[in-house]
């Protein structure tokens, strides 16, 4: 394998790892608020590392710029959506889960 391929595989594995963590987290965590925390892992590093791998494969091209823009837009839309869900939950009066109650 060339160094580039090693890097690409490394980033892909990283992306898969954090996406996997999110899947586990959504199942294991107790309530809507804490699940929202882990969901942002997929959106940040899961998608981020995968798209870095994509950009590396593509090399210097117009499409690479679009890949970077994709990450930028995910970074804007993910927190907005997460906030909307959390706020909706708060307005419904859902109390956050606590380990001591």
């Amino acid at each position: 394998m060339t160094p580039l391929e090693v890097a690409v595989v490394g980033f892909l594995l990283g992306g898969v790892f954090f996406t996997f963590v999110t899947a586990v987290g959504v199942v294991r965590l107790p309530d809507v608020y804490s699940r929202a925390h882990t969901a942002s892992q997929t959106d940040t590093l899961g998608a981020g590392l995968t798209l870095v791998a994509v950009a590396l494969v593509l090399g210097l091209e117009t499409t690479t710029v679009k890949t970077a823009l994709l990450v930028a837009f995910i970074f804007v839309t993910n927190p907005t959506a997460a906030h909307a869900i959390a706020r909706a939950a708060d307005e419904q009066g859902i109390e956050p889960w606590r380990e001591d109650r």
Binding site: L29, Y33, Q41, L45, V65, R87
Partner: protein, 363 residues
């Protein structure tokens, strides 16, 4: 008589009206020695922070000078004209804050009458004039709006759009279009780019920029925003690893707590950037934003500590206000961060925050 002033289309008429009223003086004005006095005051928020603030302060001083010149033109020799910048050392956010500093000033000079410019909009993009008038009246002042002919009555979202706004938005849209096309320079891309950028700018140039456009400031903020991204990425990676650890840990060692943080940030964009950055880092999640008070859900103690230490807040301050804003106390040191023990607690606290906003946190 106290007249709060700010940049507005009907400012000149308001000044003329206030002077006329003061000169015709029916005893309602506040001159303690019988001599009519008009006080023009300009409430300014957050002008002492960074390079944005300096500009704001200078502009406000210029505005007051202009107003004073107008007032002397209109008035006779007996009329005393005073100008002042008020609210400088304080945090002005809502209508109550503005009413408070105006009322304090009025009390200092012994005035009991306030003339308000109907197009005056102290809160920038937030319409707070009416509630401010109500709050002033509650404080025992006589409030009246200056009768002016309004050239235009704009809608809520539409601020004064101008050629500069149009050109800026057109430029941004056009560059973005070319970026997507890979800067091919083909005639087709250029023509369609101009067409779509014109369309975008025509539709949105009155909405996109809520404040007056300051290109130099905007440029500096963009440069600092670029410097902010790597730092944000670092924070994201760090907190991702922490959260991955607790999620995969067999005993799931989480300690979720709702916290409340009052940020030392001013205005819509800085707060949005901070709230989104907080949500973007796993372990902290912005649930509500009321004014500058943010309710943040935190998953693990490490994330909570990071939030209370305010590293992200400081970085966002740097993006918008420049290097001087870096020297700020952390939310913990300011006493602006706490864990909310139950929901009712959070709501009750919200009411006291507005009036009790500490002035000492701006430095």
């Amino acid at each position: 008589m106290v007249v709060p002033v700010g940049e507005s289309v009907t400012l000149r008429q308001t000044v003329a009206y206030a002077v006329r009223e003061a000169v015709s003086g029916d005893g309602a004005d506040g001159g303690d020695d019988g001599e009519p006095t008009v006080h023009f005051v300009a409430p300014v928020a957050w002008h002492d922070i960074g390079d944005v603030g300096v500009g704001v302060r200078e502009e406000t001083e210029e505005l007051l000078e202009r107003v004073a010149v107008w007032a002397r033109e209109d008035g006779d020799d007996d009329l005393a004209v005073e100008t002042a910048i008020i609210g400088a050392g304080e945090y002005l956010f809502g209508p109550d804050d503005y009413a408070r500093v105006i009322a304090d000033y009025a009390a200092d000079v012994g005035g009991d009458r306030v003339v308000v410019d109907p197009e005056y909009s102290p809160g920038g993009n937030v319409p707070i004039l009416r509630p401010m008038e109500a709050a002033l009246a509650e404080r025992g002042l006589v409030v009246e709006e200056a009768p002016v002919d309004r050239p235009t009555r704009r809608g809520r979202l539409l601020r004064g759009g101008g050629a500069a706004q149009f050109a800026t938005l057109f430029g941004i849209s056009f560059l973005f279009y070319q970026l997507l096309g890979g800067f091919s320079g083909k005639q087709f891309d250029l023509v369609t780019g101009v067409a779509s950028a014109t369309l975008v700018a025509a539709m949105l140039h009155r909405i996109t920029f809520t404040d007056r456009l300051r290109l130099r400031t905007l440029g500096r903020q963009l440069v600092r925003l670029v410097a902010y991204v790597p730092y944000l990425l670092y924070e994201i990676v760090l907190s991702n690893l922490q959260v991955a650890y607790v999620v995969l840990h067999p005993s799931l060692p989480i300690e979720p707590r709702t916290t409340e943080v009052r940020s030392a940030l001013w205005g819509g964009m800085p707060l949005t950037l901070l709230a989104n950055s907080i949500t973007l880092t796993p372990g902290t999640l912005t649930v509500r934003v009321r004014g500058r008070r943010m309710v943040v859900h935190t998953l693990i103690p490490a994330a909570r500590e990071g939030l209370f230490d305010g590293a992200l807040e400081r970085a966002v301050r740097f993006v918008f206000y420049g290097r001087p804003a870096l020297a700020a106390a952390t939310p913990r040191e300011r006493g602006d961060a706490r864990i909310v023990e139950d929901e009712d607690d959070a709501d009750a606290e919200g009411e006291t925050v507005v009036t009790g906003a500490p002035g000492g946190d701006a430095e």
